[in-house]
């Protein structure tokens, strides 16, 4: 569904992505792991069209989206739930969700709103409240719910567990697993290795802007390379 090949990107003199290849197939959860500063968020920014790549290709659902605008990428059904949630603090919960279908699936807005409220009853309780007053966990639910409103073909989650308590992290990963069981294709970009490996079908490990290790989750989990990549051992 998503094919990224030989992708290069950077800022000014600094090259952050130095030739990334990865793919996500329909129905999978693919985890993209790596410690701070290896280029995970840059990868997401290029895929979502907020920065342009220097070389390489992004093909989604058979269409070449390399360097396309964010609007047309959303239109194609590739939705990113960004790191740090980026919800609209001055809008209430319902308005945040409604805007999730600004570019895509606007006709099904009412039905999808019910679906999101069903998945996150807490959001329904707080629908009239300004989103800025929600707790961190609730904001993360809202960000995911806003993504679901666009009926994504592929949902990219950037560090959904960041800043959440251990209990909420557990809950978040269970939820991501459930979304996938319900048929959603997910690319999970995380630092949280152990829990990501538990729910992912395949894994890519990024180091210094290149993929250094990839494969089925259970194989990667047993690979001594994993420890080296993370701990430098």
């Amino acid at each position: 569904m998503l094919e990224v090949s030989a992708l290069k990107a950077g800022y000014g003199q600094v090259e952050v992505l130095r030739g990334i290849d990865l793919s996500v197939g329909a129905g999978e959860i693919v985890a993209v792991l790596g410690s701070n500063g290896v280029g995970k968020t840059t990868l997401n920014s290029v895929i979502s069209g907020t920065i342009s790549p220097r070389a390489g290709k992004v093909v989604f659902a058979g269409r070449d989206l390399t360097g396309a605008s964010s609007a047309s990428i959303v239109q194609a059904g590739l939705i990113q739930v960004p790191e740090g949630r980026k919800i609209f603090p001055n809008l209430n919960v319902r308005e945040n969700l409604e805007l999730g279908s600004y570019r895509r699936a606007r006709k099904n807005r009412a039905a999808n709103l019910e679906r999101v409220y069903e998945a996150f009853p807490r959001l329904k309780e707080r629908r009239g409240q300004p989103a800025g007053t929600l707790s961190g966990g609730e904001q993360q639910m809202l960000a995911i719910g806003r993504g679901m409103m666009a009926e994504p073909l592929l949902l990219i989650l950037d560090e959904p567990s960041l800043g959440l308590s251990p209990l909420l992290v557990e809950e978040m990963f269970t939820l991501i697993g459930k979304l996938n069981e319900a048929g959603m294709t997910i690319m999970l970009v995380e630092q949280n290795v152990v829990q990501s490996l538990e729910i992912a079908s395949r894994v890519y490990i990024i180091e210094n802007g290149v993929v250094t290790l990839s494969g089925r989750a259970e194989d990667v989990a047993g690979d001594p390379e994993l420890k080296r990549a993370y701990l430098g051992l």
């Binding site: 960004p82 980026k86 609209f88 805007l99 999730g100 600004y102 993504g147």
Partner: protein, 290 residues
């Protein structure tokens, strides 16, 4: 002391004028709230709009109230194009640059108008210009009453647009969270331009409501925008309801100061309020806490 009826009339007139001030402040506060810049060309755009109303009346015989529809559309398009193709590209995303670009635009516009029309003052007198209504013993200028009603209706419509429509929600979303907006497929540049267009469109409406009782010369917009800026600060930067309330307060203050201190000192009260607000409540009446 003046008899109560004269004071009441002054206050009423202040409210009527204040509503049109509010309308001018509305565009300024909307653009500030979303683009986070003070549009220095706001006054020049108002002057252009007032000349447009004058020209439409003199050359085409178009009544100012009928000119509202075509001029609103025209000025929306004008504002959209100016933001999207002049201010946006020229500023390279830097707020300081936007400020300078709008300042430059205002200087260019003012001087082009001076070259075209000299600094003569022009006015039009339509049927309603001198008509007066008597309500409960108070005399009210019909044109000012229309101006008040028009300003209130436009403020209400703008508020509905921002709260009820997807475009309005997108405008509010972009105001606080550009990246988040982009990632749900909102075209941020388009939203900026639409916001700027709305700001200039409200000026066109204000010009149509003003011209039956006011004059125009190439510098007239500046005086209004100074007042409008005070209103924006008083009401709270970026607040729509604040602009309306602030406009009404400022209108009444100006009117009462003119009554007690004489016409030439009418605006002194406005600037005293401006200083007091900055000293005592810098976030304004309806502004978000910093």
């Amino acid at each position: 002391m003046y008899p109560i009826s004269i004071v009441a009339e002054a206050m009423l007139n202040g409210l009527l004028t204040g509503a049109v001030y509010a309308l001018i402040a509305l565009g300024l506060t909307l653009v500030y709230g979303v683009l986070h810049i003070i549009n220095f060309a706001h006054g020049a755009f108002l002057t252009v709009a007032m000349f447009a109303v004058w020209a439409a009346y003199v050359f085409l015989g178009l009544d100012p109230y009928l000119a509202i529809v075509p001029l609103t559309i025209l000025f929306f398009a004008f504002g959209y194009v100016v933001q999207r193709f002049v201010i946006g590209p020229a500023s390279h995303g830097d707020d300081g640059n936007i400020l300078l670009v709008t300042l430059g635009l205002s200087i260019i516009i003012e001087n082009v108008l001076l070259a075209l029309f000299q600094s003569d003052t022009r006015s039009i007198s339509t049927d309603v210009s001198f008509q007066v209504l008597e309500i409960g013993g108070l005399l009210i200028s019909k044109a000012r009453l229309y101006g008040f009603l028009g300003a209130v209706v436009v403020t209400a419509l703008l508020w509905l647009l921002l709260v009820r429509t997807d475009t309005g929600k997108a405008i509010r979303a972009v105001a606080k969270e550009k990246l988040g907006a982009q990632l749900i497929g909102i075209d941020v540049k388009h939203v900026f331009a639409v916001t700027f267009g709305l700001g200039t469109a409200t000026l066109a409406i204000a010009a149509c409501l003003l011209m039956p009782t006011f004059y125009v010369n190439p510098r007239v917009g500046g005086a209004f925008v100074l007042v409008a800026f005070t209103i924006v600060v008083l009401g709270g930067m970026g607040s729509i309801t604040g602009a309306l309330a602030g406009g009404l307060v400022i209108g009444v203050v100006e009117s009462l100061c003119s009554l007690y201190l004489g016409d030439s000192l009418g605006q002194i009260g406005i600037f005293i309020i401006f200083i007091l607000v900055l000293l005592l409540r810098p976030t304004g009446l309806f502004g978000a806490r910093a």
